[in-house]
Assembly symmetry: C2
Homo-oligomer: 346 residues x 2
């Protein structure tokens, strides 16, 4: 069995060093190098190929009440990873296996592979490894879950998706199109909007940067949703969500997946909260990890679509662990285009 | 068969004369007198005993999009009534019957009694006539529906009710207590709060007037809800609702029944909108008239409780049709105590 000495002696890690006051900054992170420990029974050493960067990580950086435990200070930042087994003390995992897990912001992880949900082997025969962090991973399942379980779109209805070019939004829209809906995206900038309509196949996409005031945004939305809005998949929150509320039809369903607009603590001015009552809206937040029972069904549909070339996705790839903090802050500001990844090794 | 001449020649009516700009005012209404027409086949003449005043009427006064048609200008204001049949050209209704309907802000109404849901006969043997506009009427069913269909409280959970001393809120709390919940009301003023705890039997009641800033309100709420909030029955909206969001437990359910705070067009500053995601809240608006299928079940439970003296309610009664506009504006400002009625005749 290989030992750490013949593979690599050092694991590079990014540690949460301090909590943000207001906006997150690169100063909240610090790089650390650590020797890779010997494997105990049942443990697996994984060399990470890709690290996933996701908006939920911003919430974990705060000390306050959130849906999950806060990320501990002085510890490796949490994060999804796809990697290759370098050494194994576990019968189910072999050296060379491609594995998906929660390895965190580091080049390697030592995983207790028996712990449920920690590590699963995936096939890269028809699906690229990186897709298991995107369309066929947590973001894809998030899209599937919010759309099918909360928005519950019916053929002919109109579904609006915010952050439409992102890892989640892009999947939401394509799944809704496949269900016969009119799909309208909201994204930042001409290039992203063109991608959303021309490549992803949404019926329309509204550039929120070109419609910076809510009146202008409402006008653009009205033109794009002549029959109103029956479902909203909300990744952003704040004034954009508020504006969409004003276009809802009676009994519209709103899946709240992300509220990036509020992660830095700014209040949401709700001009259209009365729509909750006027249109008997259902607004529901959800966390993809709480319905593990639905993952197999979701991953089945998503994997089949990606393998068959019927689900398009795009990636923004930063290179090297050191680039992760900057790439993460860019993600929070919408600088990425599609799924934001960090490539850690080949 | 009696004719109009032997009963009364004049029907007094209150007409919506103009739409409010900002807050509603008595100037939006005008009094009109009209001869009572002869009854056609299938029609019934009702002399109103009580007119119900309800917050939803404020929404109808606006021209804008609402869940129902706007109240037409120049027409009698809409409103629930309980009255006595004075003359009848319909086989199912006899002179002297007590009937509940939507007679509007007028002393009499001529009703096409065959139209579904327009008029139903009720018994005053064990339930006072006025209760059919409150605890055993639309407000009671509203309470029952929001609580049982959206809040879905389980024994041991904590339910918060805003406008707790009102016609709806008082019933919500008593029904939730009967289901084994800890029930906390929010109401305006010491007298109302004392009524909510001492007479209605809520576990606690918070005086929002004595806790005018959200920090103080949050502190009082925290003390009253040591285990957090699992269900919220929301009659008010605005900063009070926002503050309660900050005390929610994961998977709390919020029934949005009324948003009085927004009826005059002020935006809702949502400081705690992020809780929708953090706690995977379900927030749902509803309109009691859209689930007529549930009314029999609700009225059955409510009627039994009132007849058995197990459901307490309180009424504020203004006298004479002319007093309706002032009483209605008082209701919007929380000046009433319990169900606001206008007594029109004995």
């Amino acid at each position: 069995m290989p030992t750490k000495d013949c593979i690599m002696t050092v694991n590079k890690q990014i540690i949460l060093d301090s909590r943000p006051e207001g906006a997150a900054s690169t100063k909240n992170f610090v790089l650390r190098e650590q020797a890779i420990p010997d494997l105990r029974d049942g443990q697996v050493l994984v060399r990470h190929l890709f690290l996933s960067l996701d908006p939920y990580m911003r919430g974990r950086m705060n000390a306050g009440k959130s849906y999950a435990q806060a990320q501990a200070l002085g510890e490796v930042m949490i994060g999804g990873t796809v990697g290759v087994v370098e050494a194994s003390n576990h019968a189910r995992f072999k050296v060379g296996d491609t594995v998906v897990g929660m390895g965190g912001w580091q080049t390697h992880s030592v995983v207790d592979a028996d712990a449920p949900g920690m590590l699963r082997t995936v096939s890269t025969a028809h699906i690229p490894a990186s897709a298991y962090l995107g369309a066929v991973g947590m973001p894809g399942v998030t899209a599937w879950m919010g759309l099918t379980q909360i928005c519950e779109p019916k053929s002919g209805e109109t579904v609006v998706v915010t952050a439409a070019s992102g890892a989640v939004g892009s999947v939401v829209g394509q799944l809704a199109k496949a269900r016969g809906c009119r799909v309208v995206g909201i994204a930042g900038g001409e290039e992203k909007c063109a991608y959303v309509t021309d490549t992803l196949g949404f019926d329309a996409c509204i550039d929120y940067k070109a419609n910076a005031d809510s009146k202008s945004l409402y006008g653009a939305l009205k033109a794009a949703t002549p029959d109103g809005v029956d479902g909203l998949f909300e990744n952003v929150g704040g004034p954009i969500m508020d504006t969409v509320l004003a276009r809802t039809n009676p009994f519209a369903r709103i899946a709240v997946c992300g509220l990036i607009a509020g992660y830095d603590g700014a209040p949401h001015p709700m001009e259209n909260a009365a729509m909750i009552l006027v249109n008997r809206l259902k607004i529901q937040g959800f966390i993809v990890s709480e319905r593990m029972d639905l993952w197999p069904q979701a991953l089945g549909e998503l994997g089949e679509l990606v393998a068959g070339g019927k689900l398009t996705y795009r990636e923004t790839i930063a290179t090297g662990l050191e680039s992760a903090p900057e790439a993460f802050l860019g993600l929070l500001k919408g600088k990425n285009f599609g799924k934001q990844l960090v490539k850690l090794s080949d």
